[in-house]
Symmetry: C2
Subunit: 380 residues, 2 copies
Amino acid sequence: MQFTSSQSELSNHLSLVSRVVPSRPNHPILANVLLEADAENGLVSLTGFDLSIGIKTEFAANVLKSGKVTLPAKLLNDIVSRLPEGELTLKQSAQDEETINLVSTSGEFQIRGLNASQYPNFPTLDEADPLILPIAALIEGLKGVLFAASNEDTKQILTGVHLKGNQEQLEFAATDSHRLAVVETPLEESASQESKLNLSVTIPAKALRELERIISSRLEDETITLYVSDGQLAFDSGAQRLVSRKLDGNYPAYSQLIPKSFKRTAAIERKSLISKLELVSVLADQKNHLVKFSLDTKKSEVELSVDAQELGNAKEIIAADITGDSGEIAFNVKYLLDGLKALPSTDILMQFNEPNQPVIFSPLGGAKMTYLVMPVQIIK
Amino acid sequence: MQFTSSQSELSNHLSLVSRVVPSRPNHPILANVLLEADAENGLVSLTGFDLSIGIKTEFAANVLKSGKVTLPAKLLNDIVSRLPEGELTLKQSAQDEETINLVSTSGEFQIRGLNASQYPNFPTLDEADPLILPIAALIEGLKGVLFAASNEDTKQILTGVHLKGNQEQLEFAATDSHRLAVVETPLEESASQESKLNLSVTIPAKALRELERIISSRLEDETITLYVSDGQLAFDSGAQRLVSRKLDGNYPAYSQLIPKSFKRTAAIERKSLISKLELVSVLADQKNHLVKFSLDTKKSEVELSVDAQELGNAKEIIAADITGDSGEIAFNVKYLLDGLKALPSTDILMQFNEPNQPVIFSPLGGAKMTYLVMPVQIIK
């Protein structure tokens, strides 16, 4: 194997795949990145794979000799990212084909790797039907729900995002059982496919965070192809492919949780609600994370209050357009802030019935997002 | 107590004193900041003190009622720093004089404190002679040596910086027994004092890091006053006062360690030496932090090499003006980088005799700094 590429290109692609490479895997070769050079097509590909999530990325390079090798991902990434801008040549050592000479303008590294034949096969999913998804819809959906997925591995299916799709729309949902985020994005005609889109799959949030990173550099009017097979799925953007196992099990029937009608609503400016909540959370976080909303219909304002008992207390007032009766309702301030930060509008609408029933936060105008939070019972 | 000040002014002064307030002190009141308001002079002072290091800072405010109270430093700092720009009023509650109402444009916090009478006395050092030190000399000296002081509490006197002064110059020194940094700064006539300057004191590095922060916002042509008593010392800049205990014991006679003459020298461009060392340190840090310098007098270059055995190896070449014989010498790359980053010049001079004797790095031109590193024996 021998190829020459620019330091910046190699470094960018390495940092992309390095993120899925485990630091202390059961099998040593999984801590390596697979480098494959193809002289015929002038292409180099890099692969990182922990057997659950994998990323393969491809770029054009001046390939003098085809071949493949695996190298320690972290070490290679640390070296290449620190090298000065300019051309880099990677070539197999004449003495030892598992050793790579990395030659830059100022010096030379020799890095020992492991034989590529031991590297696991990267799933191809060739047999699955391709589903074409618009990048813009994916970006909007992931931004709106990813934060609400559970981070606890024991919660299994809740560590994923549920994705449903038909010809008209994609629906993203995530919940950790304390709160639920749902985003619906319409699909335009142009994005519809030959094969009928009828999708229902739960994808690990960890894989989708990598997908977010991959598509963040794409134009919003581009598309990405999704392949779903029995146990696995792949997102393919042409030069990059992300594969992941699917999460097994039935995703909760979340739409039943969302109330259909509401007795009370409050329209509030989102950013000032966030900054006032962050302020009172300084005290709330010392105690039980509890913040109380007191809606005053007549005054058209909401009082946000925290009582941290022996430490002190806090009160902030915010203007709101309120319909329905005045009243009090309390929340875990952390859950509230997560959702408010993900809502994509200038003003938000808060809707609820009774102080012990689910509360819905949604954007006023624009995108279609639903954020459901269970209130906390206030002991009087 | 009652006063009004701007959010930004209160926040800046709070963050200054909060840094020395311990998070989990033996006595609860030491986790608090002391607030004192003086209506007669329109001044508010804040004090943080862990009985070893203390900072007191003073600013003008609209004081309606004199008084003092202590409040939890972290909580108060977190709240005030998040409040919007604008006027803040702090006043003692009518019901409970240890409770402070903090009123901003948008809301109100009540914070419970502890009675100021229990707060320890802040040392005054009134009886000590004032020594006038130029800010510029202090900044230069601290930047050049602070990094070399030991971070291990068990090393006692080596956790400090030794400061010597006479009418002509100030000399700063720090060593952790692996390396030594010395900076000499000349004193101008104008900075000389009525009382004869004859200084020799070891000051905890932790206190000097706070001093660095305090004087960083001062003009270089200003001065600061140092008071030294038997067990303590204070730096007074007018509005801010930093007190610290002195470190007891005899500081090592470091000047004996610095060779007077050298057989070999190499002049090297500092920044490119740093970036090449950072590059090869990726491999060196996987093993024993060892980097070898091979000086080639004829070629006028130094080869920096690392052998990380089963992981690989690295070689980088850097141009150098060399006098004396070619030869090899090895270092711990971490110690080397620390010193090179602190040296204040474009080019540096490396001087040594034999590969097992101390090496001196110093700036070529400009300030007077000496960085001594013990080389590591190479096993051949």
